[in-house]
Amino acid sequence: MIPTQWFLILSAILFTIGVLGVLTRRNGITIFMSIELMVNAVNLTFLAYAKQLGQTHGLIFVFFIMAIAAAEAAVGLAIFISLFHHRDTIDVDEANLMHW
Amino acid sequence: MAFDLTDILLSVLKIAIILGIWLNITPIMVWVERRGSALIQDRPGPNRVGPFGLLQSFADALKFIMKEDIVPAQAHRWLYTLAPTFGLFPALTTIAVVPWGRGFLIPEMTVFGRRLFEGGRWFEPVIADVSAGILVVFALASLSVYGITIAGWASSNKYSMFGAIRASAQMISYELALTLAAVSVLLAAGSLKLTDVVAYQTGYFVLFDAVKLPAWNIFSPAMWLSFLVFSISGFAETNRLPFDFAEAEAELVAGYHTEYSSMKFALFFMAEYMAMGTMAALVTTLYLGGWDIPWYNEPATFLGFLLSFLAFLAKWSFLMFVFVWVRWTIPRLKYDILMRIGWKFFLPLAIVNIVIVAAFIAARWI
């Protein structure tokens, strides 16, 4: 029986790596992938607690997060394609149309 | 979850049996394919190496090993080399959850004064009977897209790239129809486990108080649409003709594996035939009653296991022949038609079938 805290620590490490990606990278799709990584780390936490507390609610949340991540990926990638059509790059620093 | 050395050895035995069959699919199917196409097109086919050209495939395999392994200068070296293994991994693993015979009780026996299988031991002829069952097949099969996509991208060749993009679009689209078609069967069986799906099909329908039909899903009117969608989507999912847009010799040279040579090419070939084998095994399990022999109640002994295993092999071999048969009989479609029927025809049909099955269950007909 693996202690729940180990899963939580793994999840924290993965989440931190995701944060690192969002903070340091400028390639839009890599940033997006880092966000997916963070979402997955959160899923792991939900599941670890669901197991610990013997409840199904955490599992349902994982289920919903997966569905919403799919929707998010579709719309996000469409936005990046559209950005690429306009600017020929997906560097997020170049997406400054609404910047003052 | 206690297990001892005997369980591990039994698992190794199961894996050895399946792997032995699985690795030999490719040479045998290549021979069947070539002789079958020759039969259909009224020409002799390979007949020089060995009786009926049976050893031709092994000669081909030897040739593949001896050939020079070329890596294009512009290719991404790492991914170019890894791509065939990405393709082969799902093909090798998906078969693990498919049951291939009736379970039986191994009796206690004494060999060289040692008691083996104390108190008897149940032998279930499936490598991994997991509770997620068929979802594992779909999960691992969904990874097979990567082999093709990465192969196409890493080759740095526009034909490979087109083949890869077509193939991944096609496989993602048809995966939906395939999965939804299978949902009908799972709904009726009430379980995701493939062993339960087969057990559900071992009974009988009685028609007009006279005819006893085996309760295979293919005989149930609620499943006909689902069977049609599943088997046709299976062709698309394995990139076989009439849906072979990943390769499309006439337009894309050889599609995603244009740049591949030697054993790497042979690995793609093996992956394709193994995917075919998995698809045939799935159709057998979901619709043709798996290892069930009609009008015969297999005993839970070794004999029963052997008979049911042979029944499974017979159904499976027939389906494999159908793959070849269709390939050399039906002309290929256009790509836009393929996508259109996938999304606008098969997907709605699969959903309609789920509703039909749900209605049947509500009416207590199945």
Partner: protein
Amino acid sequence: MAAEFAIFFLFAAIAVIFALVVVLHRNPVVGALSLVASFFALAVMYVLLDAPFLAALQVIVYAGAIMVLFLFVIMLLNLQRAPEPPTRPIQQFLGYTSSAFFGIGLVYFIVKYAVTGAPTGQFRATAYDIGVRMFEAYIFPFEMVSILLLASIVGALLLSGRSGAGSRARIGDEVTK
């Protein structure tokens, strides 16, 4: 059991290493594939947590669908040919240090304060249990998610579709150039 711990550490290491590759590697195709490997390792974690159903879903949804979409877009946009952007040392430094602090703090607080209450019931994560729970207690959110998915399909088609290239897609260009 020793085997369980070995599997945990092996796949935890795989998940972390491939996650680092995603963040640090220049080539987005390699990044996307590493993310697939990382998600696969996470699916193994789900199996260790007695939820094989969710593990299968994780592989189907993330590895099989979402990441294929990513890979598809990266390939279509041909991003690996894009020039490497110049690094900005101050931002990089701030990013690394702040995320390091964040990570250390997170692990510290988990070790110190993580709630480890006693189980209130038997943990069952089969398709049946999840289905019953979802269609009894969570039916309204479930329907909302289906509407959200529909909206995202329409949104994605609208954003990436080229049918209006002559009119709509030009608007941004005129403003910027």
